[in-house]
Point group: none
Chain length 159, copies 2
DNA sequence: ACATCATTGACGAATATTGACCATAACCCT
DNA sequence: AGGGTTATGGTCAATATTCGTCAATGATGT
């Protein structure tokens, strides 16, 4: 039951919890030796577990003194808030509903003005491409819209 | 964890911070002696760390009384920042370039970690839709990618 | 059985460090 | 002024050290 991937994932999360910094620097080589696996296993763990969608940002550098840096956004992830977001958005949303939702989140100080701006620009861009360049149906567009919005908000508000 | 290149980089950045001028004059010879390395190591640090992309311009002169001058780009005007962004991105970008650009902008405190996360999630979503659902060519995807990234960053930087 | 997730290893790409050799500017001496 | 000397900085290629990608294979769950 204790898969290697899960062990390594937990190890990294433990490191994130115990540090006061917002990130940890890992050595792929050392980690792989510590867990007795091939180095590319570490890449697999990072790619599958520490994604932006889950609230992590990863930087790395090759060569001498290379590293893999994992940055965490949130420590806690309240489950009810995820459901709340899903309920709020549903399967489809239009631009008007989006603006209402964002205004509400901003009013409750869950997102900043700049973050709200980013989300509006991103959804509008997708809307624009979807309608003019790709000629998608209105339903399809609102569905994509909902998908993007959910993913953006989940990545931020949750971990 | 102690990389010579990073030490030298930090030293120069410290000098830039503590001066009231917009630039510092360095002596390649003195610097290399101070850090106990070959002189060409300094060139490597300059070439890899103090690039226009990172907001620096470098002048130098050989011969007696030679020097290396590092100038910090001034991006006080929103218009200048927007142009800088456009130059960074160009007409097409892939995911790797995007990550570099975002890491750089965050390091220069032009965006926050949360904003960076939002941008990564948005571009990844578009990438996912563009490749799997819509089967766009790689060039087309990179071009759309650049379009979205420019718009997101410009919206932030013009504020 | 099929689909998804996990593991492995061969090969490739990026970064750091060093040193030999090249180029240029100031200074000094006729 | 001219030309040699000295003092700088620049370039490039070789080498070492990391990390990334991709495709094949194995394991696990439905």
């Amino acid at each position: 039951m204790a898969s290697l991937t899960r062990l390594i994932e937990q190890h990294i999360q433990e490191l994130l919890k115990t540090t006061t910094e917002e990130s940890v620097f890992l050595s792929r080589k050392d980690l792989s030796e510590h867990f007795g696996c091939v180095p590319s296993q570490i890449n697999y763990v990072i790619r599958s577990r520490f994604t932006p969608e889950r609230g992590y940002i990863v930087e790395s550098q090759r060569g001498g003194h290379g590293y893999i840096r994992v940055i965490r956004l949130c420590l806690d992830m309240p489950e009810d808030r995820a459901n709340h977001i899903d309920e709020l958005i549903g399967d489809t949303v239009n631009e008007q509903e989006t603006r209402r939702i964002l205004a509400n989140l901003q009013h409750r100080q869950l997102i900043t003005t700049r973050e709200r701006l980013l989300i509006e620009v991103a959804t509008r861009f997708q809307e624009e491409i979807g309608s003019s360049l790709l000629d998608l149906s209105p339903y399809k567009r609102d569905s994509l819209h909902a998908g993007l919005l959910k993913r953006l908000l989940r990545s931020l508000v949750l971990g």
